[in-house]
């Protein structure tokens, strides 16, 4: 079963992250790197991706004349996707365990961030669309 683990945060949260010391960022990344390595070793790794800054986000709607309408204004409370992991696991509990590890990645001063990670299963009927 494929699951996507979504890490999201507000613009304010991203600003706080930018204030982390270089050392804290390196420690945090080392934990995430370790998780990716473990998942590759267990054959559960499908993909991981970080997204560019929320400042670069646009929201697009179709208009009647077929011209896209873009807008870059979002409510302050909006949670932006920061990055994701796609894993192929035997049970939902295993997906939750991996998300728990990501959530426990160390933050400033070496304390776990305890970031909430949203766990969603891929819809089976859609999987044939992927390449």
């Amino acid at each position: 079963m494929k699951y996507i683990l979504l890490m999201s945060g507000t613009k304010a949260g991203v600003d706080r992250y930018h204030a982390w010391s270089q050392r804290d960022i390196e420690t945090h990344m080392a934990v995430l790197r370790g998780i990716t390595n473990d998942l590759s070793g267990s054959g559960e790794f499908v993909a991981t991706q970080g997204l560019a800054e929320p400042a670069e986000a646009k929201v697009v709607r179709g208009e009647k004349n077929g011209i896209p309408v873009t807008d870059g204004i979002f409510p302050e409370s909006k949670e932006f996707l920061l990055g994701y992991w796609i894993v192929d696991v035997a049970t939902p509990e295993r997906a939750y365990a991996i998300a728990g590890r990501i959530s426990a990645a160390l933050g400033p001063g070496g304390t776990p961030t305890n970031m909430p990670i949203e766990v969603r299963r891929f819809a089976v009927y859609e999987q044939s669309k992927s390449q």
Binding site: Q49, A57, R101
Partner: protein, 130 residues
């Protein structure tokens, strides 16, 4: 340049939309056609639909290392319904594709005009995480 186009259209607790069978089929046929077009132009990297928000869980690490799961979300939370990753020459092309997806037919065949969030993605995982 890679972009992710996100359909953040679902809300907490939602399941399969209560549309007529014909409307659902028209919607899916539109999406299948869009994907086919993007595959033919060489711009499609991946496209996935997610299960409905009524199955979503939020996970945090507990102190003992055990995951704590929770399925309670604020009503205002946007849920990802699905996404496309496309590899295109310009942001404008990503917006044009998003606009097409936005106009997917809904109930009665009327365009949904759903908002599609468009974000550049990094060309690979951050090197420090590899």
């Amino acid at each position: 340049m890679k972009y992710i186009l996100m359909m953040n259209t679902m809300r907490a607790g939602q399941g399969v939309p209560q549309w007529g069978q014909k409307d659902l089929q028209a919607h899916i046929a539109f999406m299948t056609g869009l994907n086919k077009e993007l595959r033919q132009s060489g711009e499609l990297v991946s496209a996935e639909g997610l299960s409905f928000p009524n199955q979503a869980k939020l996970v945090r690490a507990g102190k003992d290392g055990m995951p704590i799961t929770d399925g309670v979300f604020p009503e205002s939370k946007e849920f990802l319904a699905g996404y496309w990753i496309v590899d295109v020459d310009s942001p404008e092309r990503a917006y044009a594709i998003a606009s097409k997806a936005s106009a997917a037919p809904g109930p009665g065949g009327a365009p949904l005009n759903m908002p599609i969030e468009v974000r550049p993605i990094m060309s690979g995982p951050p090197p420090e995480t590899l």
